[in-house]
Symmetry: C2
Subunit: 461 residues, 2 copies
Amino acid sequence: MTSTLTPELLYLVHGDPGELAEALAGMRAADIAEALRHLPPEAGAKVMAALPFDLAVEVFDEPEFADHRVDLIQHMPITAVGPLIDAMSADQQADLFRELPEHDRPRLLKQLDRTSQQSLALLLKYPTDTAAGIMTTEFVSMPTTWTVEQALNNIREVGRAKETVYAIYILDPNTQQLVHVVSLRQLMLADQHALIGGLGERRAPLSVAPRTDREDVARLISKYNLLAVPVVDEGGHVIGIVTVDDVIDAIVREQTEDAQKFGGMEALDIPYTEIGFWGMIKKRAGWLTALFLGEMLTATAMGRFEGEIAKAVVLALFVPLIISSGGNSGSQATSLIIRALALRELALKDWWRVALRELPSGLTLGTILGTVGIVRILLWQQLGWYNYGTHYLLVALTVGFSLVGVVTFGSMAGSMLPFVLKRLGFDPASASAPFVATLVDVTGLIIYFTVASALLRGTLL
Amino acid sequence: MTSTLTPELLYLVHGDPGELAEALAGMRAADIAEALRHLPPEAGAKVMAALPFDLAVEVFDEPEFADHRVDLIQHMPITAVGPLIDAMSADQQADLFRELPEHDRPRLLKQLDRTSQQSLALLLKYPTDTAAGIMTTEFVSMPTTWTVEQALNNIREVGRAKETVYAIYILDPNTQQLVHVVSLRQLMLADQHALIGGLGERRAPLSVAPRTDREDVARLISKYNLLAVPVVDEGGHVIGIVTVDDVIDAIVREQTEDAQKFGGMEALDIPYTEIGFWGMIKKRAGWLTALFLGEMLTATAMGRFEGEIAKAVVLALFVPLIISSGGNSGSQATSLIIRALALRELALKDWWRVALRELPSGLTLGTILGTVGIVRILLWQQLGWYNYGTHYLLVALTVGFSLVGVVTFGSMAGSMLPFVLKRLGFDPASASAPFVATLVDVTGLIIYFTVASALLRGTLL
C-alpha cells in the first residue's frame, strides 16, 4: 500500500491537465504506473491523455501495470489507443490482448498497424507460462557475412525500436537459421573489418523452444548470466527473444503462486492489497473446505476408538500433541522437497533416494521428540503437576512410541507427496503443507491408538 | 542430482590431463562448475590445472561454484591460485575470502596484486545481504565533459576488464560525484561530438546506499528494468555496482530460505541433495522440538477439560477436526501476508488494515466450515452411520459455533504473526505456518470446550 502518488497529484487529476502533465514529466514510467494503479480508471485515462506520448507508451509497457491497462483503455478514445498500443513492445501487446474481453479484440486489432497485427498473431498462439508466451519479437539479427562496421551501423539505425541491442543474433545468410550470438561488447572490442560470423567462441548458441516452460527459461538465463535468450522454432529460426527483466518478473510471480499454494489456497493472481473481498474468499474457501472434508476422516477415525477413549480418557489429552508433531515434520519435509524440485536439484526419478534419506531422518527426529515427550510426562507426574493415573509409565511409553511412528510417517508422507503430485501432472506446491497435515492427522490417530492398544491392553484398556 | 558430468569425463580426470582439457574446452563455464561440484576436491584441482587460464577464471567466477572453491584451493599450488583469484571479478573475490578460514586469509592475500587487495579491503567491510556485499568494483565511469566519441573509445580500451559496459556512470569532473547514468545504447545512437553529460533525460540517477538490503536492491532493479544499479556512498561517490545477474541469484537464494523457514525449519543454506545427514537433522530438530514444546500446552489445555471429556466422550471425536481447521485458515492467512510483506505490497503500518480485512474473512470462512460441519453430523446421525447420542443436535451446534470461532482466530493470528515477527526484528517467514498452527491449536481447544460448556451445560455436561 506504499505509493509515490502524492495528494497534490491526486488533486491535479481533477484539475488542470497541463499542470498535471508537468508534475508527471519528472517521474519515471514505473512510478507513474504504480501511482495510476491507485486511481479510478476514468482519472487514469485523463492522466494518460496528459502525458507526453513516449512516456505514455513506457507506462503502458510496464508489466506491473498489466491488470489496469484493460480498464483504462475502456475510458480512452479508441483512436488514441491504437497508436499507443502500436508503440508498445510486442510481449506487452500480447499480454494486453490476452486480458482483453474476447469480443473487444477484433475492434481494437483493426486499429493497429500491420507489424503489430502480425506479431500478435504469432505471440497469442502460446500460453503465458511458455518461452514464446513471454518473448518479444523485437530483436537484432544479421547475416554472418556482415562486417563489424556494418553491424554497428545497423544497430545505430534500428536500435531505437528493439527491446535490447546488447545481444545480436547472427543468421546463416542462406537458410536464415541461427548460427551464432555475439554481444554488443564483443562488437565494440572487435576489429572493424572482421566478419561478425567469426567473432568470439564457436559454440552452438544457447536457445529455448517456443513451448519451453518459463521457469526453465529463467533457470537458463540465471545459470549462464544471459541478458536475453533466443526462442528458436523447429526449423532453427529465431522467432523472438526473452530478456532478463521479463524473467525476473516471471520468477517473482511464480514464487508468489508457489507460496500461496503451499499455504493451502489457490494462487491469488492479484496483489493481496488489491483483490476484492469475495474474490479472495473464493480463492481460500475452496481448498479450506476440501481440506475440511478430508479432515472429517479424523472424526471417523476417532469414532472407531470411542470405546478406548471412554475407558482411558487420559489418551485423549495427547491427541493434539501427537498429530501436530506429525504435521510439523511433514511440513518440513514437503517444503524441502518442493523447493529442491523447483530448483531442479531433484528430478522425479530421485524419489527413492529421498525416501531412503527421509526414513532415517524421520526415525531420528521422532526419537528426539519421543524422548522429550516421555520426559515431559514423567516429570509432570513426579512433580505432582498432573496425575496420569497408576499406569502413567505405560501412558508415557505409548506417547513416546507413537511419536516415533507419527514423525517418521510425517517425514515420509511429506517428502513423497510432492513427487506424487508432480507425477500426476499437478504443481507440487499445491496445498502441500495442509494436505500433508490432513493425511498425517488421520494416520497419526490410527498409529497412536494402535500403539495404545498394544501397550495398554489388560491395564487401562 | 542432474549433471552434465559424463562417465568419460570422470575417467579422464584420473587419466591424461591433455585429453581432459580437450574434452572440457567445448563446455561452458557454468557447466564445468556444475560438473566439478560432483568431483572430490583433489580431482577438481587437477581439472582446474588442465583448463585454459581464461576458462578456469570463468569457472571460479560462477556464484554456483562458491561452496566448492575453498576446498579446491587447498589442493592447488598457492602460486597458481594467486593469478586465478586476481583475474576473478571483485564480488566473487570477496565471496571467496568470506568463505576462507580466518587463518588462511593473510597468506592468500599476500599472493594478490594491489588492485585486488584494495577492492577486497573495501568489499569485506559489508555483510553479504547488503548492496555493498554483493556489488563489484569493476564499472565504467567518465567525466561529464567527455564527448560520445571519447566515451566509446574509452569503452573499447577498458571494456574487457569490466563487469558490464552497458551502463556508464557519469561523474562531475570536480567533485567526482555521480550526476548521470547513460546506457551504451544511448551512446551508440548519439551524435559523436555531443558531450556525454548532456545525453538522455536529466533525472537524478537511481542508486542505492552501501547498506541497502539486497532484497530492496533486487526490487529496484526489477521495478525499473535495470541492468545494474550504482552503489553510492554518503559523499555521492560510486563505490561499486550491483548487476542484474547477481540480483537473480540473490532472489532465488532468498526465496529458498523463505520457503524452508515457512515450512518450520532453519534455512539449509546448502542444497538438499548435498547437505550431510546430521547437518540436516540439526537444522530440522531445533524448530521441531521448539514447536513440540509449544504444542505441549495442548496437553495441558486438554488436561483442564479432562472432566468434560470423561462425561461427554463424543466431544473428543471432533478435537482434531476443529484444531486443524484453525491451523489451515491460519496457514492461508500467514502465507498471504508473508508474501505481501516480502513484495513490499504491505508495510508494518498496514497491520490494522489487514486486521480489519481478516476479521470478516475469518468469520465468512468459519461460517462456511461451520455449516458443512453441522450438516455432516446431522447427516451421519440421520443416515444411522454414527450415533452421537440423544443430544446430537447440541453437539452439532457446538462443533459449528466452535469452527466459526477457531477459523476466525486462525485468520487473525495467521495474519498478525508476520507483522509481530517483523516488528521484533525477525524474518516474518520464520517457522510461521507451524508456529501459527501451534498457537491456534491451544486457543482452538479453549474455544471449543468453552463453547461446549455453554451449550451442553445441564445436558451432557
